[in-house]
Symmetry: C2
């Protein structure tokens, strides 16, 4: 099969071995896959991953139990043991022995076929298109914010960073009716927010007043955390949504002095993301900047790094 592989170098392979299907797992023919910031960080050394890249995808089950065969599915990316202390506590996303699709010890979805545990699959309703479904994974990560912080309408919330995850978090927060603003550097994505009725400011025009109840740091940059620490009120919260290949240099004293809570935030609830897409509550289609065929993945990943694009997708196969 065809596959996009990172082994210290990024390369498109025309002849890559088709994956075996262990017991309890299923084979999915990938339709569409999304390029995520985490993929770009992996190319800079994050997670020391080597193998087939890609964890955002939608596909069709070609080998699996009868009830799933032929179904369009998305899949949770954490493949877990079910037996460790974390799994037994109901925190299986934090499984001690987990592999993570295209990120940690398991091949990903930038390929004709991908194998995932059956229990990781979510069948899609007909009214969620492939172009929407490919956003389920990052949108679920955005919904995770609502799982971690009970947002109320009176709360002042800021999203720092208007990249792919920032725009999704902003849309999710906009639905809560809280007092929302986003702060970024990219005129394209700031304008995108304004068009959706979300207040958006260029970072150079912001005078932080330490009055935000919650700040969601989505820039993946040390400057983003520094301004988050200036924006958040004493005893407020900062959520960190981005992993980064390189360490940050940061003064955390303001977090101590202002007794700020900094919360790491990762994967989220797929069912909520699918529901939101099915009910057309979140617009992801307008985030798609370009769609490349799989064999142009290397070029697509370069384009995904440029500020002129929001989301870049890979078309792997057609129905």
């Amino acid at each position: 099969m065809r596959a996009v592989v990172y082994d210290g170098k990024l390369k498109f392979h025309r002849e890559w071995p088709e994956p075996a299907v262990p017991k309890g797992e299923i084979l999915i023919q990938v339709r569409l896959a999304g390029i995520c910031q985490t993929d770009l960080e992996i190319l800079k050394g994050y997670s020391q991953f080597q193998g087939v890249l890609g964890h955002e995808f939608v596909g069709v089950v070609v080998n699996g139990p009868k009830n799933l065969r032929g179904k369009r599915v998305v899949a949770e990316i954490n493949c877990v043991c079910g037996q460790c202390d974390m799994c037994l506590k109901g925190l299986s996303n934090h499984c001690r022995r987990r592999t993570v699709l295209g990120i940690l010890g398991r091949n990903g979805a930038f390929a004709d076929y991908v194998v995932v545990p059956e229990r990781n699959c979510h069948a899609l309703p007909d009214n969620v298109t492939n172009e929407e479904a490919v956003f389920v994974e990052p949108l679920a990560a955005a919904f995770q914010v609502l799982r971690q912080v009970p947002i109320e309408r009176h709360m002042r919330c800021t999203v720092v960073g208007t990249g792919r995850i920032g725009l999704l978090v902003a849309q999710v927060l906009a639905q809560t009716g809280c007092r929302l603003q986003v702060i970024g550097r990219n005129p394209l994505t700031l304008e995108y927010c304004e068009k959706k009725g979300i207040q958006a400011f260029h970072v150079d025009n912001v005078v932080p007043k330490a009055d935000q109840d919650m700040v969601v740091e989505c820039s993946g940059d040390e400057n983003g955390l520094a301004i988050s620490l200036q924006l958040v009120r004493p005893r407020g919260m900062i959520l960190l949504k981005s992993t980064s290949a390189k360490p940050w240099t940061i003064d955390l004293s303001p977090a101590v002095v202002n007794e700020v809570t900094i919360l790491g935030s990762r994967c989220g609830p797929y069912a909520e993301a699918i529901n939101a897409l099915a009910r057309k509550q979140i617009d992801v289609l307008s985030m798609v900047s370009r769609i490349f065929p799989l064999h142009k993945a290397v070029e697509a990943i370069e384009v995904a790094e440029t500020p002129g694009t929001i989301k870049v997708l890979l078309e792997v196969s057609k129905a």
Copy 2:
């Protein structure tokens, strides 16, 4: 009066103007003062403070309302407006217009006399000695941990750093009956913990297992936070107790991936600290390494930086 002043340089002054006493404030003759890590950080540029140093002290009220005059007191260090949004929310330690004794916009207690708002004072019971009372401020900061995290006996807790605040936090946590260990570098303070029945390990002998429910970072060092991130379990908590003059270089990705909560922690409840001292629940006297007379403060501060000492006190006046 005599005073220890930092204005870019640290100097002992024999002739420093006695402070005026504004309405609502009282004049205290200082008996004993403590040297804190924050004082040392100020000398490295933290908080850009200039003025009389010192915020840990015990003294006797010489000018104030009748009910306080002649009384031995300690004083809260945050001097607040009572009118800003934080004060009105009951978060007056985070007052927007606060000054902080010897740290922010207000002269401190390394002097014959110090002026503080009357409402900041706590009269001391007779069975708390001056040598104990001078620990009320940092001990209250240690008790703040219990205000922020409900500790239960089954919880695994680690204190990273066995400096002054680390030893106080360790003693406070030991009282909860939780499964406690401390990790440090200094054989002197590690042994101090062991003598108190608290498990203590040299950092080089620790293999982090990501199994601690809570880690209290008291080292004030980026390496301390890095090992805290390896010690804490997924979804666990790290409390940051130390401010630092210099920024840290740190990889926060583990906090994101493991959805760790990092909580800044500063000043705490004086009443609880005074009660614990009155009931002899916390032993602070054994932490006192040296007592210098006020006029030797510059030397005392140098000694406080050396690993051979725990707490260094300044004797300002005698009864």
